[in-house]
């Protein structure tokens, strides 16, 4: 009879949350810029070229990499193809439904894809084989296993970890034809982008919001930075506006926090 749409936070709990944040504290006793425990496992899917399972608190994501040859896009005839997709499984949360992807799932895939693409993590120039005819295509498919907030970051870490550990067949070009060899080589990874999502509750920004915090926020911003602290991509969500000062605060935080997370990703994908 009644359709569950989204998690509703209790009014009295939200009031408590806002009050605590004013004192610089959070409901789960984290610091404002502290992530929930992050674990990264790689090589979890035997048949994929690369894979990773990431847990961020109770949020869990699995990413798999599939590499094959394909036809290049007409505007980039000598460059490889990279595609990131994400699906929120119906069992992952009481609010997820089977069927065509929801608005959230589409945004998730696009934001994660953009972070990876714009950081130029994978050198697509090295994935060209026969210009205009054959290139290497890298597909990353993500499955959201459990939802407890901040899918953007968990999914992004899973994709980055999976790509960093992915192995593909080496191709040789003979007479304008690409042939696969038995030799396995790593994907040409140049950078390690890290996405950091901040939610605004009351007037404070918090890193890595959980379900309850996401239900209380009036604005969120996701910023992806690369190894040198350059901002590669960002996405603002929810209806409320953000002041220039807060954009700068978010940028600083995402660079600082991103550094620690990058170190952990590098360590787990050596």
């Amino acid at each position: 009879m009644s359709m569950k749409k989204n998690y509703v936070v209790e009014t009295i709990r939200k009031a408590q949350m806002v009050q605590l944040l004013a004192e610089g504290k959070r409901m789960d006793e984290r610091a404002l810029d502290q992530l929930r425990p992050l674990t990264i496992e790689t090589g979890v899917i035997q048949k994929a070229n690369g894979s990773a399972r990431v847990t961020l608190g109770n949020t869990q994501v699995i990413a798999g990499v599939k590499i094959a040859t394909g036809i290049p896009f007409p505007d980039t005839p000598d460059k490889g193809i990279l595609m990131v997709n994400a699906e929120i499984l119906p069992m992952s949360s009481p609010y997820a439904e089977p069927g065509p992807p929801s608005e959230e799932a589409i945004e998730l895939a696009r934001v994660v894809d953009r972070g990876i693409r714009e950081s130029e993590m994978v050198d697509l120039g090295k994935l060209g084989l026969v210009p205009g005819k054959t290139v290497i295509a890298v597909f990353v498919d993500c499955n959201i296993m459990n939802v407890d907030g901040n899918l953007f970051d968990a999914t992004s870490y899973a994709v980055v970890s999976a790509l960093r550990t992915a192995k593909m067949k080496k191709y040789v070009v003979k007479d304008d034809k690409a042939e696969a060899t038995e030799e396995m080589v790593p994907v040409p990874v140049e950078r390690t982008p890290v996405s950091v999502t901040l939610a605004r509750i009351g007037d404070r920004l918090v890193v890595d919001p959980n379900t309850e915090e996401e239900a209380s926020m009036d604005m969120r911003i996701t910023i992806t930075t690369d190894d040198d602290g350059n901002i590669c991509a960002s996405q603002k969500g929810e209806a409320s506006t953000i002041s220039p000062a807060q954009v700068l605060e978010a940028a600083d935080t995402s660079i600082r926090v991103g550094k620690q997370i990058r170190a952990q990703i590098m360590e787990s994908t050596k």
Partner: protein, 228 residues
């Protein structure tokens, strides 16, 4: 049978044979009584009874529950009662018989996110449970810390004739309100609230312990009523 015998059962187990009365989570097939849940079964004066060890809240008429308003429509409020069923509080139960969707503003009474104490007015499986706030103490809950425990542990938290809950609120000076659906609201001085929440969680975790009362008393310490 003079002595009440308790045994662990899983779904499908035959609890007893013969002619007894029986309660929830038990099904009668022929002259056998079959368990429908994992739990402790007993055959006693009241007939065949099964106390489930796990499971979500199954609404029962006249239960007092604490719920969260998740939707407001033209005719009433949809309330999350921590169950697989959503509770429905009809506007006519709040505004009276003269309720009309055009003259009454439902949001003026309860909004999405509000916590309410309510009573299950009626429930049969073909329809969502109906709630009512008629009676003393029901209605909007304005403040307090919300704790959720497994609904199967609620009897343990209340204790024999409210012994456990009285002990906790006496030792911490807090008011503890327990819904049959496993939602607990604690109000009182901040340090007392933190301690009460821990005690409630402790009861949930150690619900199987035989000397639970003593354990909780030990945890709360000898502090007198009304304080820290």
């Amino acid at each position: 049978m003079p002595m009440i015998e308790r045994k662990q059962v899983i779904p499908g187990d035959v609890i007893a044979k013969g002619n007894y009365r029986y309660g929830s989570y038990v099904e009668k097939r022929g002259d056998e009584f079959i368990a429908l849940r994992v739990g402790l079964a007993e055959v006693g004066r009241d007939g065949v009874k099964l106390n489930p060890l796990t499971g979500s809240y199954l609404p029962r008429a006249d239960d007092e529950v604490i719920g969260k308003v998740v939707d407001v429509n033209g005719f009433g409020w949809v309330v999350d009662i921590n169950s697989c069923f959503d509770g429905f509080l009809p506007a006519s139960f709040v505004f009276g018989r003269e309720f009309s969707p055009s003259t009454h503003d439902l949001s003026s009474k309860f909004r999405v996110g509000d916590m309410i104490g309510a009573r299950i007015e009626s429930f049969e499986r073909s329809r969502d449970p109906q709630l009512s706030i008629r009676g003393h103490g029901y209605g909007k809950i304005d403040s307090g810390e919300i704790v959720k425990i497994s609904p199967t542990k609620v009897p343990r938290l209340i204790g024999r004739r409210g012994a456990m809950i009285n002990l906790i609120s006496e030792k911490t000076g807090c008011d503890v309100r327990v819904g049959q659906n496993g939602v607990v609201v604690v109000t009182g001085p901040p340090e007392g609230v933190a301690k009460t929440v821990k005690a409630v969680k402790m009861v949930e975790e150690e619900a199987h312990a035989a000397d639970l009362m003593a354990k909780v008393e030990g945890f709360l310490g000898g502090s007198s009523s009304g304080g820290s």
